[in-house]
Amino acid sequence: MATPRVWLLWRIGVFLAALAPLVFWGWQVAINAAGPEPGNYLLLNIGIGGLWMLLLTLSLTPLTKLTRWKGFALIRRQLGLWTLAYATLHMLSYALFILGLNWALLASELVKRPYIIVGMIALIGLAVLGATSNKWSMRRLGKRWKPLHKFSYVILGLVLLHFFWVVRADMQEWAMYAAIAALVMATRLPPVARTLPKLRHRLSRA
């Protein structure tokens, strides 16, 4: 059976894997391979990265049900915090590179543009979940912790809406993420959620 040391290595591995895209994009910018608008390159890539982090975080519970592997649950908080980190960097890219840190403009854009408002609500939601992702908060909140963290489903919906609004000419990429999100959410439906462990038995017997 896996020892605590192996679990530690697993978590460090996940940490490095989640950090890697940021290092890669930063590297691309540093060597001038990110095109003539590196700030926009970072903005869009980190936005998509944040969506991936959110989808991965929300996949962990159904994956645990499906496999009963302990490793998935062990990285849930970490990936949740990575989602928050990506989303924060995405927002900062916007403020810094697109708006050139024009605070007055930032303040007016944050209330004027529906897609930004929706992104902002999602980011605030992620920050609240991040701030309550610790043992102390779990104890304090008790029974209310779980319903609070179900807000992550709403956040996923908000992010998809945010993304939907910025699509210009072709829905293919958005539709792919929406389909993955629908799949992840479908595993939460009680009948599906009940079937997952049974599915595991069937798979392991086969």
């Binding site: 910018v29 095109g35 003539p36 608008e37 590196p38 700030g39 926009n40 970072l42 810094l96 590179f97 697109i98 708006l99 050139g100 024009n102 403009l105 854009e109 543009r113 897609y115 930004i116 609004w165 910025v166 699509v167 210009r168 000419a169 072709d170 829905m171 293919q172 990429e173 539709a175």
Partner: protein, 338 residues
């Protein structure tokens, strides 16, 4: 004549290649012709030193000859320090051409295989002198001019690009419009085999991509039909072999890879207007006072920029070409006709 419309404002007809250089270039060309087309194809006909680092293209001989006979620097920015020409790699590596994908790097990745030779253009509709022309015959009667224009994308970024082409007005005059002609409608090639964006079943654009101008806008001396840039032919991703350039309008008006030019009586519905009329209008004049629903148009990021300097500058009404075009819109409410 252009010199007539050029006001002291933002353009001036300067820096036209001095005649001596011009003549020697022609003699050079004559010599090349004597040595055979093979040598003429080697890429050295780009007589302009500024473009020595621009990769030579693969233009047919007739196009190389047209280019070598260009009136260089026919229109240049009045403030070349502020309006610096973008590096060729940026102008050819970062743009929207949705026929080839949605990412700004997709066109340069996917357009390479577009077959642009031979190419023909249909001129039809309310004209006495229409027909289908090979690109060579289409271009033949006019001399190429080099025009350095600011290109302002509706997405709030901009670049300065040196185009090579012919005034659209000359083409229209040759077509001899009837009295019914009020607008010009343009169409891009439809060829899903070559254009992956057109194969997508999730595309929002109803192909072909369509654009339009009012006849007086089309006849304005600034309106250019480009066949080259940076002293060479157009790279495929920039709309080869024939594209429109309307510098006082947002970039999406400057339709690429044109196969059809029709003079029509009714105002055409351009593709973006059809997709999202609340975001993109028919006129699409650069206007810092009318925001896009998702971003401000008051400023623009002049590319290339860097992380440390977003290079944000104020957007000018009509992209700074107001002296030449403002009168086209006298009395119009440009908030309504955005």
């Amino acid at each position: 004549m252009l010199i007539k419309i050029a006001k002291p404002s933002d353009l001036h007809e300067s820096d036209v290649t001095p005649e001596s250089i011009y003549l020697s270039r022609r003699r050079f060309m004559g010599g090349m012709a004597g040595l055979g087309a093979g040598l003429a194809l080697s890429g050295h006909v780009r007589a302009n030193e500024d473009y020595s680092d621009v990769p030579a293209g693969d233009a047919p001989t007739w196009l190389r000859e047209k280019i070598s006979d260009t009136q260089w620097r026919a229109i240049t920015p009045s403030n070349p320090e502020k309006d610096k020409i973008a590096p060729f790699d940026d102008a050819s590596g970062y743009n929207n051409f949705f026929e080839f994908g949605t990412d700004k790097r997709d066109p340069s990745r996917h357009a390479g295989s577009l077959e642009t030779q031979p190419w023909s253009v249909v001129v039809d509709g309310e004209v006495n002198n229409g027909g289908r022309f090979s690109l060579e015959d289409f271009a033949k009667p006019s001399q190429f001019e080099e025009r350095i224009y600011r290109l302002r994308c509706v997405e709030a970024w901009s670049m300065v690009i040196p185009w090579l082409g012919i005034p659209l007005a000359e083409v229209i005059r040759r077509a001899d419009p009837t009295s019914k002609a009020k607008y010009v409608r343009f169409e891009t090639l439809v060829d899903p085999e070559q254009m992956p964006g057109q194969r997508s079943s999730f595309s929002i654009i109803d192909w072909p991509y369509v654009e339009g101008l009012r006849l007086d806008e089309a006849m304005n001396p600034l309106t250019l039909l480009a066949m080259g840039m940076y002293g060479r032919e157009l790279p495929n991703q920039n709309g080869a072999p024939l594209r429109l350039v309307v510098p006082w309008k947002y970039g999406f008006k400057s339709i690429k890879s044109i196969v059809r030019i029709s003079l029509v009586e009714e105002q055409p519905v351009n593709s973006w207007q059809q997709i999202a009329a609340n975001e993109y209008g028919f006129y699409a004049n650069v206007n810092p006072q009318v925001d896009h629903p998702r971003w401000s148009q008051a400023t623009e990021r002049r590319l290339p920029n860097s992380l440390f300097n977003s290079n944000t500058i104020d957007t000018l009404m009509f992209n700074g070409y107001g002296d030449e075009v403002a009168e086209l819109y006298a009395g119009m409410d440009l908030r309504k006709h955005y």
